[in-house]
């Protein structure tokens, strides 16, 4: 599904088939993952959409409902999956995920260990990064969540790249079979310092660890624990600020007698509603941009470290 299989490579020739997972896009903040099945329907405030209308269309198409409303059908990517997956736990979002992938130097062929799996948001991106020859071994101490994650990965076609195991990493550490074989390790645990000695044994020489913690006290304890056999310990915070745009039509100064009061405000209103241009006046449009008023203030601290050379 996620570009792992070359025959399903996203292209102009790639059409939606029965059984495919599509991302139904209503708005940038309203998307759902839907499995296409002949005979099924998708219903939202725009009307009823028949799956059979979708089959055979290319991904990226606009499809209509019985009422003439529309949605877009998108191909799943790890980024879209992060936005539509069901939250069983708090998840990691794009800015943290992208920095983790870069800093952990994850490339195709890598072996990555992760704990906890949570809702599988990061795991999906890790899988894409190690494909096709690498593997992600992810561990969670909660049996039900591990099962749900395993089902999710099968649904999005990642089961050959991800292995989910139920295990308490804080209590037991990573399995000995991975000793000295991990390129990178990611921890999102309440008490990550308990797992650090084990991580030190799992990592290859010069391998990289990342620990994600919401609280600074956790970060302090983690850094303290890393002193013994890790180096280059660095802690970051990363956030994203978004911008919104607005088009404004502005009257030129060509025809006016000068005074800005009186007729001007009315004409400006007319222009903004787009009811035709004023022939005697010159018009230019400008695009204004400003930051969105809402922003995420904090997700967690990312602490990176490299296994020290002996």
């Amino acid at each position: 599904m996620l570009l792992i299989d070359p025959s399903k490579r996203n292209s102009f020739e790639w059409h939606i088939c029965e059984g495919d997972l599509v991302i139904v896009y209503e708005r940038h903040d309203n998307m759902k993952a839907v499995k296409v099945q002949k005979g099924s329907v998708f219903q939202n405030r725009f009307g009823i959409f028949k799956h059979s209308d979708w089959i055979g269309k290319p991904f990226g198409s606009k499809v209509l409902s019985n009422k003439g409303g529309f949605v877009y059908l998108l191909a799943p990517t790890p980024e879209l999956w992060t936005l539509v997956l069901s939250h069983r736990t708090q998840i990691l979002y794009l800015p943290d995920i992208s920095l983790v992938l870069s800093y952990l130097e994850i490339v195709p062929g890598c072996l990555v260990l992760e704990s906890g799996t949570g809702s599988g948001s990061l795991t999906t991106s890790l899988a894409r990064a190690v494909a096709p020859s690498g593997h992600v071994y992810t561990f969670d101490f909660h049996e039900q969540r591990a099962t749900l994650a395993r089902e999710d990965f099968t649904r999005i076609g990642l089961s050959s790249l991800v292995t989910v195991t139920v295990r308490d990493i804080q209590g037991e550490g990573f399995p000995e079979e991975f000793c000295g074989s991990a390129d990178s390790v990611f921890l999102d645990l309440p008490q990550p310092w308990l797992a650090m000695p084990s991580v030190g044994r799992m990592l290859k020489q010069d391998g990289v660890l990342c620990s994600f913690s919401p609280c600074i006290e956790q970060v302090q304890r983690s850094c303290e624990a890393l002193k013994s056999n890790f180096t280059d310990v660095r802690t970051f915070e990363v956030l994203l600020r978004t911008y919104e745009i607005k088009e404004v039509r502005m009257d030129g100064n060509g025809g006016g007698e000068g005074s800005p009061v009186g007729p001007f405000p009315r004409k400006r209103r007319q222009c903004l509603s787009g009811e035709g241009s004023n022939g005697s006046m010159e018009q230019t449009t400008a695009v204004m941009v400003r930051p969105c008023s809402e922003a995420r203030g904090h997700t967690g601290y990312l602490t990176f470290a490299r296994l020290a050379c002996i």
């Binding site: 490579r9 290319p58 990226g60 980024e79 062929g109 894409r128 010069d206 302090q220 911008y243």
Partner: protein
Amino acid sequence: MAEEGGGHPAEVALRPPNPRTTWEGCSVLLDINDGDRLVFARLSPAATLKIGNKKCFLSPLIGCPFGSLFRVDTGPDGPHLTRISSSSAPSHDNCMQETDDGQSIDELRDNRSLIDNNTAQSLSSNDIDAMRREGATGDEIVEALMANSSTFGKKTAFSQEKYKLKKQKKYAPKVLLRRPSTRSICETYFKKHPARIGFLRMDTLSLLLSMANVGAYSDVLVVDMVGGLLTGAIAERLGGIGYICSTYFRSMPYPSDIVRMFNFSREICSRVIQAPFSDLCSSQNLDNENSKSHENIQSSEIQSQTEDSLLTDCASKSSIALPEDPVVSEGDSLPDCRHENNTSTGCKSANPGRKAPPELIKLWKEKGFNSLIVAAPELELGSLIQDLLPLLSYSAPFAIYHQFLQPLATCMHRLQTSRMAINLQISEPWLREYQVLPSRTHPMMQMSACGGYILSGIRICISEGCNGNN
């Protein structure tokens, strides 16, 4: 294409990623004194490094694991680099272990009686030189300085630690051997020569890769005007499967010397393809018109780009060393860069990336690219994006990086009106590093205020019967 065991033919050619040991001729990143100074170098037999006023050969670094630490020793043949173990490296923890008990006494200490009049240290620079001539190691000199300082004993434990580290950096410098990767190359350039990479910060670059869904099997269309950093980053993520089509709107490809620092194998290098935009367009009339208009817009940019490429060419001739760092000298010059390297892997040709073969161009026109990333931080974007989008498959994501906000706002507006894309978003990444030490945890004093802006979105099919490139 015969397949064995269900593997993609290219998979069998892949090597294990992320090599752990250096080899002769490989490109390395040298970290001197804990990030104080970062230098790119190539480990050729005659390469040297200047630290302070001493010049050392880099040959002891060949065959060592990445992450090894070295110190400068004075020997009969002059200064040389010796490998040391990390446990003997100066670090905060070594200093602090001794003073943990003295914590309560520490709280009574402060600097009210310390006067900065240069009289605290009783050893003169002549004394220190004499010590050096007698063969004292850097660490011994540091100990002597601490012992001969009249104010040292009155400082707080934290202050003593800071003093010791400062002296160690001067008299016992350490060199850390690092493997260049996307993140470290980007961070180094951002710190030293941000203009060469269009002020693209490492978190911004990471975002571009994720937003554009870059991974193996992708065919990525790229406009890279950041010295090759973007091309290298994408090639790293493709791992030898899939292609990067680096396109350009003038007669010559944009300079991309930074790709050579990644130590890519031949397989990965072979995935970097270059094609002028005119070759990628479907209709002949369209491409002539467009490439002319884009070239006009860029005539001023071409000037600066050519100068830039000359600069980077000179730098590359002295083996990647950035001009002001006299990292490598006579031994490592032009011939090294030019000749085909048989012993070690790597693309050392003057311009990494080969010309697009016609069958690939045909394939891309039929199937479209999986994603588009543009990093043209000084271009007036204009209709550039609208010209590039038709080359993308439907439902393919794109990410456009720019130093300035306004061009992206204009571009976003055009895309909204033309309805070529959805999920449009302008993002500005924010990155802050923390110092985490017992009782001294706070954000770092210095911070980057701007890492650029990104416009991201997904291309969609606008008409009812969309098939192929319209």
